[in-house]
Protein backbone atom coordinates (compact mmCIF):
# COMPACT_ATOMS: atom_id res chain seq x y z
CA UNK A 1 0.00 0.00 0.00
CA UNK A 2 1.13 3.53 -0.78
CA UNK A 3 -0.38 6.10 1.57
CA UNK A 4 0.06 9.80 2.14
CA UNK A 5 -2.28 11.12 4.80
CA UNK A 6 -5.88 10.84 3.71
CA UNK A 7 -4.84 9.87 0.17
CA UNK A 8 -3.81 6.30 -0.41
CA UNK A 9 -3.58 3.75 -3.18
CA UNK A 10 -4.34 0.36 -1.70
CA UNK A 11 -2.87 -2.68 -3.43
CA UNK A 12 -4.12 -6.19 -2.72
CA UNK A 13 -1.02 -8.27 -3.47
CA UNK A 14 -2.68 -11.68 -4.10
CA UNK A 15 -5.12 -10.36 -6.70
CA UNK A 16 -3.28 -7.26 -7.94
CA UNK A 17 -6.46 -5.22 -7.37
CA UNK A 18 -6.21 -1.57 -6.37
CA UNK A 19 -8.49 0.84 -4.56
CA UNK A 20 -7.90 4.56 -4.23
CA UNK A 21 -8.72 6.55 -1.08
CA UNK A 22 -9.07 10.30 -1.57
CA UNK A 23 -10.06 12.01 1.65
CA UNK A 24 -13.13 10.08 2.73
CA UNK A 25 -13.94 8.80 -0.78
CA UNK A 26 -13.12 5.31 -2.08
CA UNK A 27 -12.79 4.74 -5.85
CA UNK A 28 -12.00 1.68 -7.94
CA UNK A 29 -8.57 1.48 -9.55
CA UNK A 30 -6.70 -1.09 -11.66
CA UNK A 31 -7.99 -4.71 -11.61
CA UNK A 32 -10.54 -3.94 -8.88
CA UNK A 33 -13.63 -4.92 -10.87
CA UNK A 34 -12.19 -8.29 -11.92
CA UNK A 35 -10.79 -9.21 -8.48
CA UNK A 36 -12.36 -11.98 -6.37
CA UNK A 37 -14.98 -10.84 -3.85
CA UNK A 38 -12.78 -11.53 -0.81
CA UNK A 39 -10.02 -9.34 -2.28
CA UNK A 40 -12.50 -6.50 -2.84
CA UNK A 41 -13.77 -6.88 0.74
CA UNK A 42 -10.19 -6.70 2.06
CA UNK A 43 -9.55 -3.53 0.08
CA UNK A 44 -12.81 -1.82 1.05
CA UNK A 45 -12.25 -2.69 4.69
CA UNK A 46 -8.73 -1.21 4.65
CA UNK A 47 -9.97 1.78 2.64
CA UNK A 48 -12.78 2.43 5.12
CA UNK A 49 -10.29 2.41 8.00
CA UNK A 50 -8.11 5.01 6.26
CA UNK A 51 -11.09 7.17 5.29
CA UNK A 52 -12.40 7.08 8.87
CA UNK A 53 -8.96 7.99 10.16
CA UNK A 54 -8.97 11.12 8.02
CA UNK A 55 -12.10 12.14 9.96
CA UNK A 56 -10.51 11.51 13.37
CA UNK A 57 -12.17 8.10 13.81
CA UNK A 58 -9.93 5.13 14.53
CA UNK A 59 -10.71 1.49 13.86
CA UNK A 60 -9.52 -0.81 16.63
CA UNK A 61 -9.01 -4.56 16.58
CA UNK A 62 -11.19 -5.05 19.64
CA UNK A 63 -14.59 -6.11 20.86
CA UNK A 64 -16.89 -3.91 22.89
CA UNK A 65 -20.06 -4.27 24.92
CA UNK A 66 -22.43 -1.76 26.52
CA UNK A 67 -23.48 -2.33 30.12
CA UNK A 68 -27.01 -1.74 31.46
CA UNK A 69 -26.04 1.85 32.42
CA UNK A 70 -25.20 2.58 28.76
CA UNK A 71 -21.42 2.63 29.29
CA UNK A 72 -19.13 0.89 26.78
CA UNK A 73 -16.35 -1.47 27.80
CA UNK A 74 -13.62 -2.07 25.24
CA UNK A 75 -11.77 -5.42 25.07
CA UNK A 76 -8.52 -4.98 23.18
CA UNK A 77 -5.79 -7.44 22.38
CA UNK A 78 -4.42 -9.85 19.81
CA UNK A 79 -6.42 -12.78 18.44
CA UNK A 80 -7.06 -15.55 20.92
CA UNK A 81 -7.14 -13.58 24.19
CA UNK A 82 -10.92 -13.99 24.49
CA UNK A 83 -12.29 -10.70 23.16
CA UNK A 84 -15.22 -12.21 21.25
CA UNK A 85 -15.96 -14.85 23.85
CA UNK A 86 -16.15 -12.33 26.68
CA UNK A 87 -18.34 -10.03 24.57
CA UNK A 88 -20.68 -12.92 23.83
CA UNK A 89 -20.72 -13.91 27.52
CA UNK A 90 -21.80 -10.35 28.34
CA UNK A 91 -24.48 -10.38 25.64
CA UNK A 92 -25.97 -13.45 27.34
CA UNK A 93 -26.19 -11.36 30.50
CA UNK A 94 -28.13 -8.57 28.82
CA UNK A 95 -25.34 -6.33 27.54
CA UNK A 96 -25.44 -4.91 24.00
CA UNK A 97 -22.64 -5.51 21.53
CA UNK A 98 -20.84 -2.78 19.58
CA UNK A 99 -18.37 -5.04 17.82
CA UNK A 100 -16.83 -8.47 17.92
CA UNK A 101 -13.51 -8.10 16.12
CA UNK A 102 -13.52 -4.36 15.46
CA UNK A 103 -14.97 -1.09 16.75
CA UNK A 104 -14.49 2.57 15.87
CA UNK A 105 -13.00 4.91 18.45
CA UNK A 106 -13.93 8.60 18.42
CA UNK A 107 -11.80 10.56 20.90
CA UNK A 108 -13.79 13.32 22.62
CA UNK A 109 -12.96 16.12 25.04
CA UNK A 110 -13.91 13.96 28.02
CA UNK A 111 -12.61 10.58 26.79
CA UNK A 112 -14.08 8.74 23.83
CA UNK A 113 -17.18 7.40 22.18
CA UNK A 114 -17.21 3.91 20.70
CA UNK A 115 -19.10 3.26 17.47
CA UNK A 116 -20.24 -0.08 16.11
CA UNK A 117 -18.25 -1.82 13.39
CA UNK A 118 -20.81 -4.14 11.91
CA UNK A 119 -19.65 -7.71 11.55
CA UNK A 120 -21.42 -10.78 12.95
CA UNK A 121 -20.28 -11.84 16.42
CA UNK A 122 -18.66 -15.26 16.16
CA UNK A 123 -18.13 -17.75 18.95
CA UNK A 124 -15.97 -20.85 18.93
CA UNK A 125 -17.90 -24.10 18.41
CA UNK A 126 -15.64 -25.59 21.10
CA UNK A 127 -17.65 -23.68 23.74
CA UNK A 128 -20.88 -25.66 23.45
CA UNK A 129 -20.44 -26.98 26.99
CA UNK A 130 -20.36 -23.43 28.34
CA UNK A 131 -22.92 -22.05 25.87
CA UNK A 132 -25.39 -24.89 25.05
CA UNK A 133 -27.33 -22.67 22.62
CA UNK A 134 -24.40 -22.95 20.18
CA UNK A 135 -25.63 -26.48 19.33
CA UNK A 136 -28.69 -25.02 17.65
CA UNK A 137 -26.45 -23.10 15.24
CA UNK A 138 -23.67 -25.62 14.63
CA UNK A 139 -24.85 -25.96 11.03
CA UNK A 140 -23.71 -22.34 10.50
CA UNK A 141 -20.11 -23.10 11.51
CA UNK A 142 -17.61 -21.73 9.00
CA UNK A 143 -15.77 -24.86 7.85
CA UNK A 144 -12.92 -22.77 6.41
CA UNK A 145 -12.29 -21.14 9.78
CA UNK A 146 -9.48 -22.87 11.73
CA UNK A 147 -11.05 -21.47 14.93
CA UNK A 148 -14.37 -23.18 14.09
CA UNK A 149 -16.53 -20.15 14.88
CA UNK A 150 -20.29 -19.88 14.69
CA UNK A 151 -22.02 -16.56 13.92
CA UNK A 152 -24.42 -15.65 16.72
CA UNK A 153 -27.38 -13.28 16.89
CA UNK A 154 -26.97 -10.75 19.69
CA UNK A 155 -28.50 -7.48 20.81
CA UNK A 156 -26.46 -4.61 19.40
CA UNK A 157 -25.83 -0.93 20.12
CA UNK A 158 -24.75 1.79 17.68
CA UNK A 159 -22.55 3.87 19.96
CA UNK A 160 -21.84 4.54 23.63
CA UNK A 161 -19.41 6.54 25.78
CA UNK A 162 -16.29 4.56 26.66
CA UNK A 163 -16.03 3.79 30.37
CA UNK A 164 -13.04 1.48 30.58
CA UNK A 165 -10.53 -0.43 28.48
CA UNK A 166 -9.91 -4.07 29.31
CA UNK A 167 -6.86 -5.96 28.05
CA UNK A 168 -7.80 -9.65 28.50
CA UNK A 169 -5.29 -12.45 28.87
CA UNK A 170 -6.08 -16.12 29.34
CA UNK A 171 -4.68 -17.41 32.64
CA UNK A 172 -5.08 -20.11 35.27
CA UNK A 173 -6.54 -17.59 37.70
CA UNK A 174 -9.00 -14.70 37.60
CA UNK A 175 -7.63 -11.28 38.43
CA UNK A 176 -8.23 -7.65 37.44
CA UNK A 177 -5.42 -5.13 37.91
CA UNK A 178 -5.03 -1.50 36.90
CA UNK A 179 -2.76 -1.12 33.86
CA UNK A 180 0.07 1.44 33.84
CA UNK A 181 -0.81 4.02 31.18
CA UNK A 182 2.36 3.50 29.14
CA UNK A 183 1.68 -0.23 28.92
CA UNK A 184 -1.95 0.40 27.99
CA UNK A 185 -1.02 2.82 25.19
CA UNK A 186 1.57 0.43 23.81
CA UNK A 187 -0.96 -2.42 23.72
CA UNK A 188 -3.73 -0.25 22.27
CA UNK A 189 -1.44 1.01 19.49
CA UNK A 190 -0.84 -2.55 18.37
CA UNK A 191 -4.61 -2.94 17.89
CA UNK A 192 -4.83 0.30 15.89
CA UNK A 193 -2.21 -0.62 13.34
CA UNK A 194 -2.85 2.28 10.93
CA UNK A 195 -0.84 4.36 13.40
CA UNK A 196 2.21 2.70 11.83
CA UNK A 197 1.44 3.98 8.33
CA UNK A 198 3.89 6.80 9.11
CA UNK A 199 1.94 9.33 7.06
CA UNK A 200 0.76 12.85 7.77
CA UNK A 201 -2.16 11.53 9.88
CA UNK A 202 0.06 9.47 12.17
CA UNK A 203 0.99 12.20 14.71
CA UNK A 204 -2.69 13.04 15.27
CA UNK A 205 -3.64 9.36 15.44
CA UNK A 206 -0.90 8.68 18.02
CA UNK A 207 -1.82 11.76 20.06
CA UNK A 208 -5.52 10.87 20.12
CA UNK A 209 -4.81 7.33 21.34
CA UNK A 210 -2.63 8.87 24.04
CA UNK A 211 -5.45 11.22 25.08
CA UNK A 212 -7.90 8.34 25.38
CA UNK A 213 -5.49 6.33 27.54
CA UNK A 214 -4.88 9.38 29.73
CA UNK A 215 -8.63 9.90 30.32
CA UNK A 216 -10.11 6.38 30.38
CA UNK A 217 -9.03 3.77 32.98
CA UNK A 218 -7.37 0.61 31.66
CA UNK A 219 -7.27 -2.80 33.29
CA UNK A 220 -5.60 -6.14 32.71
CA UNK A 221 -8.12 -8.98 33.01
CA UNK A 222 -6.50 -12.34 33.57
CA UNK A 223 -9.29 -14.83 33.12
CA UNK A 224 -10.27 -18.47 33.19
CA UNK A 225 -13.39 -20.13 31.76
CA UNK A 226 -15.11 -19.12 35.00
CA UNK A 227 -15.46 -15.59 33.60
CA UNK A 228 -17.74 -16.87 30.82
CA UNK A 229 -20.45 -16.84 33.49
CA UNK A 230 -19.14 -14.18 35.87
CA UNK A 231 -17.74 -11.46 33.65
CA UNK A 232 -20.64 -9.02 34.18
CA UNK A 233 -20.22 -9.37 37.96
CA UNK A 234 -16.44 -8.97 37.67
CA UNK A 235 -16.75 -5.78 35.62
CA UNK A 236 -19.46 -4.51 37.96
CA UNK A 237 -16.97 -4.79 40.81
CA UNK A 238 -14.40 -2.87 38.75
CA UNK A 239 -16.94 -0.12 38.00
CA UNK A 240 -17.83 0.30 41.65
CA UNK A 241 -14.22 0.97 42.74
Amino acid sequence: MVATGANALLHDAPSGARLRVTGTRLSRDAHYDTAPRDARIRLVRAGAMIALRARGLYQLHASAAVDPRGIAWLFAGPSGVGKSTLAYALSRQGWQILGDDGVVLEPTAGGATLHAWREPLQVSAALTTEFPELRDREHLENLHDPRRRIPMLVSTARHAPLGAIIFPRRAEHDRVTAMPQTMALAELMLQSSQVLLADSETPRHFARLRDVIARVPSFRLEHTQKQLHEIAHTLGAVASV
Binding site: Q181, T182, L185, A186, V195, T202, F206, R210
Partner: protein, 86 residues
Protein backbone atom coordinates in the same frame (compact mmCIF):
# COMPACT_ATOMS: atom_id res chain seq x y z
CA UNK B 1 28.38 14.79 24.46
CA UNK B 2 25.15 16.13 22.95
CA UNK B 3 22.43 14.14 21.23
CA UNK B 4 19.33 15.06 19.29
CA UNK B 5 16.07 13.23 18.67
CA UNK B 6 15.34 12.06 15.14
CA UNK B 7 12.55 13.93 13.37
CA UNK B 8 10.56 10.72 12.91
CA UNK B 9 10.11 10.12 16.66
CA UNK B 10 6.71 10.70 18.23
CA UNK B 11 6.31 10.89 21.99
CA UNK B 12 3.24 10.47 24.18
CA UNK B 13 3.76 11.51 27.80
CA UNK B 14 1.55 9.82 30.40
CA UNK B 15 1.28 9.64 34.19
CA UNK B 16 3.87 6.88 34.59
CA UNK B 17 6.30 7.79 31.80
CA UNK B 18 6.17 8.01 28.03
CA UNK B 19 5.77 5.92 24.91
CA UNK B 20 8.06 6.70 21.98
CA UNK B 21 7.17 5.66 18.45
CA UNK B 22 9.94 5.50 15.87
CA UNK B 23 8.23 5.96 12.50
CA UNK B 24 11.38 4.86 10.66
CA UNK B 25 11.67 1.47 12.31
CA UNK B 26 7.94 1.27 13.20
CA UNK B 27 8.84 0.15 16.70
CA UNK B 28 7.72 1.62 19.99
CA UNK B 29 9.49 2.02 23.32
CA UNK B 30 8.30 2.74 26.85
CA UNK B 31 10.19 5.04 29.20
CA UNK B 32 9.74 5.32 32.96
CA UNK B 33 9.58 8.70 34.69
CA UNK B 34 13.36 9.14 34.78
CA UNK B 35 13.74 8.05 31.18
CA UNK B 36 11.06 10.52 30.14
CA UNK B 37 12.90 13.35 31.92
CA UNK B 38 16.12 12.37 30.15
CA UNK B 39 14.28 12.32 26.80
CA UNK B 40 12.93 15.82 27.48
CA UNK B 41 16.43 17.08 28.17
CA UNK B 42 17.83 15.45 25.03
CA UNK B 43 15.17 17.32 23.07
CA UNK B 44 16.39 20.53 24.67
CA UNK B 45 19.85 19.58 23.34
CA UNK B 46 21.28 19.26 26.83
CA UNK B 47 24.61 17.42 26.91
CA UNK B 48 25.20 14.28 28.95
CA UNK B 49 26.93 16.13 31.81
CA UNK B 50 24.12 18.64 32.24
CA UNK B 51 21.52 15.85 32.13
CA UNK B 52 23.34 14.14 35.01
CA UNK B 53 23.55 17.45 36.90
CA UNK B 54 19.84 18.09 36.44
CA UNK B 55 18.91 14.62 37.70
CA UNK B 56 21.12 15.10 40.79
CA UNK B 57 19.26 18.33 41.40
CA UNK B 58 15.78 16.87 40.90
CA UNK B 59 16.09 13.41 42.47
CA UNK B 60 17.67 12.02 45.62
CA UNK B 61 20.24 9.85 43.87
CA UNK B 62 23.99 9.23 44.12
CA UNK B 63 26.06 10.70 41.32
CA UNK B 64 27.46 7.35 40.18
CA UNK B 65 23.97 5.90 39.96
CA UNK B 66 22.62 8.93 38.08
CA UNK B 67 25.53 8.83 35.65
CA UNK B 68 25.04 5.11 35.00
CA UNK B 69 21.29 5.56 34.52
CA UNK B 70 21.73 8.42 32.05
CA UNK B 71 24.28 6.41 30.08
CA UNK B 72 22.04 3.32 30.07
CA UNK B 73 19.02 5.23 28.78
CA UNK B 74 21.04 7.14 26.17
CA UNK B 75 22.47 3.83 24.95
CA UNK B 76 18.97 2.38 24.70
CA UNK B 77 17.73 5.41 22.76
CA UNK B 78 20.74 5.19 20.42
CA UNK B 79 20.14 1.48 19.87
CA UNK B 80 16.47 2.23 19.17
CA UNK B 81 17.67 4.79 16.60
CA UNK B 82 15.64 7.48 18.38
CA UNK B 83 18.59 9.79 19.05
CA UNK B 84 21.83 10.53 17.20
CA UNK B 85 24.90 12.60 18.14
CA UNK B 86 24.12 16.30 17.68
Amino acid sequence: MKYKAIAEALVATLSDGAVLLNLQTKRYYSLNETGTRIWEMVQQTADEESIVATLLNEYKVEEAMARAEVRRILDELIEAQLIVPA
